[in-house]
């Protein structure tokens, strides 16, 4: 297996969505290819870092204000109606 072939399968490999046969092939490639091993590890880490350190959290006070504004607009608008009644 070439490195380019390994890379093509990287996303499915990391998501655990590959057949057992393909996994054996990819693992074998990883065993001897240090570069692909590093790429795989650091890609996994990239995903974990973004998943575990959620940026752009909604602050509670802003959340309350937005909620109020949304509900006021909905009350005025009504559902399924284009004009106010």
């Amino acid at each position: 297996m070439k490195c380019t072939e390994f890379l093509k399968e990287l996303t499915d490999y990391l998501d655990g969505k590959i057949t057992e046969d393909l996994k054996v092939e990819l693992d074998e490639h990883l065993h001897w290819c240090h570069e692909c091993h590093v790429v795989m590890n650091t890609t996994q880490k990239t995903i974990e870092i973004y998943r575990d350190n959620k940026i752009y959290e909604l602050p509670e006070d802003l959340r309350n204000r937005l909620h109020q504004a949304i509900m006021t607009k909905c009350r005025k608008s009504g559902t399924g109606k284009k004009s106010n009644t």
């Binding site: 380019t4 890379l7 093509k8 990287l10 996303t11 499915d12 990391l14 240090h34 570069e35 590093v38 790429v39 590890n41 650091t42 890609t43 880490k45 990239t46 995903i47 870092i49 973004y50 998943r51 575990d52 350190n53 959620k54 940026i55 752009y56 959290e57 909604l58 802003l62 959340r63 937005l66 909620h67 504004a69 949304i70 509900m71 607009k73 909905c74 009350r75 608008s77 009504g78 559902t79 399924g80 109606k81 284009k82």
Partner: protein
């Protein structure tokens, strides 16, 4: 014990029941749906627009539009999938306005080769997150993901940050499953390449400057 039971009861109130009640004009039910998903919609909107003011507008407009068009929601998909689709379109519209560029789309820069052939193959520090303080790390993550095209960062956020499946992401973005997969691979590789600058193991050295 009481709170555990309460939480379980809340969980039983299914999304569909809330949607049905909201369709009949029950604003409390819709308010519950807003509370369930406002944080996610805000995060997705911030990732696409990179502007807090725009993200706030997107949250308001997306929920209002969802409410006004509830009748059209058939329940073939989850309410959240339908809502995110509205929010993504709103966010892209804001981005177009701010950039004064009508061509901003999920297809922008998709043909780029960046990251598809890894150049940075030095290993990272064992605990890269601990190299930086919380706020500095947040800045690095924001700056890095901002460099990706809207199409790439939106797919990455829905799949890897929000934890949606490939199929759900495809439905939310109106893309095919293979298109989502190919964008996801390249988004992951581009982010990895860019983060390496901050996280690679300096001790080992790579023999280059």
């Amino acid at each position: 014990m009481e709170t555990i039971q309460k939480k379980a009861e809340e969980g039983i109130t299914s999304e569909m029941m809330l949607v049905q009640a909201a369709k009949k004009g029950d604003l409390e039910a819709f308010s519950e749906l807003v509370k369930r998903y406002d944080r996610n919609v805000f995060r997705i909107a911030q990732h696409i627009t990179h502007n807090e003011e725009d993200a706030q507008d997107v949250v308001q407009d997306a929920f209002l539009k969802a409410y006004q068009n509830l009748e059209q929601f058939q329940g073939n998909s989850k309410f959240y999938t339908w809502l995110v689709r509205i929010a993504v379109n709103e966010a892209l519209m804001r981005l177009r306005k701010r950039r004064n560029d009508r061509t901003v789309s999920l297809d922008e820069d998709v043909e780029t080769d960046e990251g598809s052939i890894p150049r940075e193959v030095a290993d990272w520090s064992p605990n890269p997150e601990q190299l930086y303080g919380t706020s500095e790390l947040g800045d690095i993550l924001k700056k890095t993901i901002q460099g990706l095209s809207p199409g790439f960062r939106t797919v990455f956020v829905l799949r890897d940050v929000e934890g949606m499946s490939t199929e759900e992401t495809a439905e939310m973005l109106g893309l095919s499953v293979p298109a989502v997969k190919s964008r996801l691979l390249r988004a992951r590789l581009q982010l990895r390449e860019r983060l390496a600058k901050y996280f690679k193991n300096k001790k080992g050295g790579d023999g280059q400057q």
